[in-house]
Symmetry: C2
Subunit: 277 residues, 2 copies
């Protein structure tokens, strides 16, 4: 099965567009788990177990593991050995050239065993190629990010009249998707941009961070991100789920918040769908 097929299967089975971002901040992990990489691993593993039937994917964030040094990197590898029945998208935003890009692909897909990765397009098509050439793995390419400063480059107006973000979207849909494994990252904080990207790329999966703690409006994001079948969107929430209680019951609280978000997305879709559809 290709990555896109596995993602679609998981999303249909769990009837979910929710992707849970695993951004474990040691300062916010319940005290009873202990500190350090062992605590972070236990925390993430329990979140995964508590929510695996409610989500379409998990998105572990490499930075929070690397910040803990070698033990953190080992914890990330251990976490990715879980088999929760939905894909792990490694949020790493890698981007480099030649043999270095090959080494990053090896790190993410082979050493860590991730099912997909987030990538930066700044170094161009040949920097993406070592990832793109593996159809069983997914490549989510940064297009329009959720942060205020994202516009410093992404909103620049090109001589042809479009923005840099839309140029990336068109390259992704045309040149870079030869193996059918490309998606785009578009922040929920800009629903207008999301709709524009979806119109230009009707079939690409869109990974949409920025709902919840970052303030993106859920309903608008869902309706703008899905494809014509009401699928193909991964709406990602992290902190609002991970730290729903901050106490000993964190996994139950995370499950409740994940269930609430999943249901809110389904309701948004039902409401946003054309009448009679």
């Amino acid at each position: 099965m290709t990555f896109v097929e596995r993602l679609r299967e998981a999303s249909r089975r769990n009837q979910s567009l929710l992707c849970v971002g695993l951004d474990p901040d040691p300062r916010r992990i319940p005290a009873h788990l202990g500190g350090g990489a062992a605590g972070v691993l236990a925390f993430c593993a329990q979140i995964v177990e508590a929510t695996a039937d409610l989500v379409c994917a998990f998105k572990p964030n490499a930075a929070f593991f690397e910040a803990l040094g070698p033990d953190g990197f080992a914890a990330l590898a251990e976490l990715l050995r879980m088999r929760p029945g939905v894909p792990f998208i490694l949020d790493a935003k890698r981007g480099d050239i030649g043999s270095t890009a090959e080494a990053y692909a090896q790190a993410a897909f082979d050493a860590l065993g991730a099912d997909a990765i987030t990538l930066s397009p700044f170094l161009g098509g040949d920097s993406l190629e070592p990832f793109l050439r593996r159809p069983e793995k997914g490549c989510f390419i940064l297009c329009k990010t959720s942060n205020p400063g994202g516009g410093d480059l992404q909103d620049l107006r090109l001589a042809d009249g479009g923005t840099l973000s839309m140029h990336v979207a068109r390259l992704a849909a045309s040149s870079w998707n030869a193996n059918g494994n490309v998606g785009l990252v578009v922040g929920a904080t800009y629903p207008g941009a999301l709709a524009e990207v979806r119109a230009a790329c009707p079939t690409l999966p869109l990974l949409v961070p920025g709902v919840g703690a970052q303030g993106g409006e859920l309903e608008a994001a869902v309706c703008a991100a899905v494809d014509s079948a009401g699928e193909g969107a991964l709406i990602s929430a992290s902190r609002s789920i991970l730290y729903a209680s901050g106490e000993r019951d964190f996994a139950d609280a995370a499950r409740a918040e994940a269930a609430r978000l999943r249901q809110a997305m389904r309701a948004a879709l039902a409401q946003g769908a054309p009448q009679g559809a």
Copy 2:
């Protein structure tokens, strides 16, 4: 001392613009060192010891260590504990937002102890801020990369007439360098772009990969990259030094090649300098 002061001190002490890139490919490491992370660490440590008095910096490449999994990440941490008397620039090309960018800064500067890092500008100024706010650490921001595909985005013509690369160069020199710790990455394979960046950013350190195995012409790159004092350039070579012999004498061969490149750079500068200067 700030990062830029430490870099200048190292460059003057060793009279060198050479930066040795540490991109250890296990397939090319001499067999007697053994395989895996231990072999990679031994290889890099001997390269560092053999060349530390000939260079202005070392540039370990995170990808090659991550490709070896947790043991590779531990080897990177161990390598960075060496104190060779010149800075370690972690070539990681990170770029992410908010608390994730803070975690990457913590990973590079605290968990690994790097003196500087390479960063992607695609996510804008706020994504760089957690790195920029530490004047004792250096931030080399991708501007014009050495690979053929670099132009896919970087050469795009903006509505104001310039290229994306030059827009990044101007942002770096104006907004992002408030703490005096910003440099730019500009490939040796495009000496015209190098000269244009140097003209727009007369005082920023320029990290220039792409000589040697990538085919960039050394003399042109050196003369285009240095500032008006003949300093402020880090000309990076990796494979041509690391694998100069591929045999048991690799460290001696690396030292000889590093000495040759260092001398060729000094000769290029002497020849390129205005007569009577």
